[in-house]
Symmetry: C2
Subunit: 148 residues, 2 copies
């Protein structure tokens, strides 16, 4: 089964229509080598179909996020990034000092999800987190790291 078919089925199963625009948008997200921002995505899909309206892109992304197909992550500074949710979930650590973004394996949040479920009955969608802080190199560089 091709990835396009999978996408179409997911939309149809959710009672939504499969339109050429939506397929173009979602397949572009799916095949992006890294995270995409909405403006970047708009620019890219309009290369293939110049008449595609930005509001359609935003609406499609919003629907896809609600369906759990795509993650929406606030990376700070007003940048919301989108990524296709594959089988592997991961998160990001963002350094406030140098701006470096590194990946964080999902296992770190697994125990949190388990605790929320076991103790509170809350099934958390821990799809994609951007965790802000200060990275090890910056802490070492600032010299105040000893105070932590």
């Amino acid at each position: 089964m091709s990835c396009e078919t999978e996408t179409a089925i997911a939309l149809r199963d959710a009672g939504q229509k499969v339109t050429p625009q939506r397929m173009l948008i979602l397949c572009t997200v799916r095949h992006a080598r890294e995270h995409v921002t909405a403006p970047g995505l708009i620019e890219e899909v309009r290369r293939a179909y110049p008449f595609l309206d930005p509001s359609t892109v935003y609406r499609t992304l919003s629907s896809a996020a609600a369906l759990g197909l795509v993650s929406e992550t606030d990376m700070g500074a007003g940048d919301t990034e989108y990524e296709w949710i594959g089988k592997d979930r991961h998160h990001h650590l963002i350094c406030r000092s140098c701006g470096d973004v590194t990946s964080l394996d999902n296992s770190y949040l697994d125990s949190l999800a388990t605790a929320l479920y076991d103790e509170l009955g809350f099934r958390a969608d821990l799809g994609h987190f951007a965790i802000f802080g200060v990275c090890a190199p910056c802490r070492a560089r600032s010299g105040a790291a000893a105070g932590d």
Copy 2:
């Protein structure tokens, strides 16, 4: 020491000026009974000082967040909420189904912060998280809860 004095000292220590506008904005956030949105805050401070410009509010909130005085939390649907960071940190569980927002004690994220620090050297600012998912009542109501 009054809370106003504390706020003034925090600003001054960070090399920033203590202006009447900023004091009004930050004290309004500090004394708000619940979270405030930027538009709501703008409306409230302009009741006291109608000439206060919205860009000043956004700038002040941004500076205060960078200083760790105020938390910025994306509550979904484009709503960013601000809250004064007191001694007790807490987080929110937001149900995608019914929209209910409940508080989550910080202890749930303490072990995550510890793991990030011990294993990766990353000092996380886990100031305020909005965790999306489905709450226990909604899961029970949907009947599909057994499949989890």
